[in-house]
């Protein structure tokens, strides 16, 4: 069974600073995807960034980047130049690939990020 662990329930950062959110996962699968979702106070789930496990290059989307360490099963999210609008709960999620997979996402417990002015 796959598990996703986020060990930081809450974090805060000053506006314009950089913050890193941690995520570890456990799986015996070799092909999978990892995701970071943002859930602002509106509760809408928004995809921030995704990483294919077979790709060594870390994914980047504007101010958001990941540090993917496959051997360590670690997938952290770095937010640069933090903005007030980044205040939200962030979920790390995992999905197996392959012919028989159903596409279900397995989520971590979430990290609440507060960006302070």
């Amino acid at each position: 069974a796959q598990t996703v662990t986020q060990s930081q329930p809450e974090m805060s950062v000053q506006e314009a600073e950089t913050v890193t959110l941690s995520c570890t996962y456990d799986t015996s699968e070799s092909n999978y995807y990892l995701f970071w979702y943002k859930q602002p106070p509106s509760r809408q789930m928004i995809l921030v960034i995704r990483q294919e496990a077979y790709k060594q290059q870390n994914a980047t989307e504007n101010r958001f980047s990941v540090n993917f360490q496959k051997a360590a099963k670690s997938f952290s999210l770095k937010i640069s130049d933090s903005q007030l609008g980044d205040t939200a709960m962030y979920f790390c999620a995992f999905r197996v690939t392959g012919y028989s997979n159903t596409g279900k996402l397995i989520f971590g417990q979430g990290t609440t990020l507060q960006v302070k002015p």
Partner: protein
């Protein structure tokens, strides 16, 4: 931009009653999902649905739960004999495929069981 919609935004029901949560996925999507999030906790997978049948369900999805795509556009989650512990936010999601296609989430329905 196409989006997933859910109705109602908030549903209050008495314990033991039946509720139906409705979702309209993005029109060309083929894979549909329900997730739930108890307040302050993580998002949990309930069920996936493809080609008019359940492709996977979790332990949470017991005999009281059912899903249906009655008319080719709506995707519903029915909960019979509701319990207090069913109180949660329920999210519908859809995707064009399983991988690497992104799952698009609806805004959620908050279910309160009294």
């Amino acid at each position: 931009e196409p989006e997933v919609t859910q109705t109602p935004s908030h549903q209050v029901t008495q314990m033991g009653q039946e509720v139906i949560l409705r979702c309209v996925p993005i029109s060309n999507h083929l894979y549909f999902y329900w997730y739930r999030q108890i307040l302050g906790q993580k998002v949990e997978f309930l069920v996936s649905f493809y080609n008019n049948e359940i492709s996977e369900k979790s332990e949470i999805f017991d005999d009281r739960f059912s899903v249906e795509r009655p008319d080719g556009s709506n995707f519903t989650l029915k909960i019979r004999s509701t319990k207090l512990e069913d109180s949660a936010m329920y999210f519908c999601a859809s995707s064009a495929g399983t991988t690497p296609n992104e799952q698009f989430f609806g805004p959620g329905t908050r279910l309160t069981v009294l």
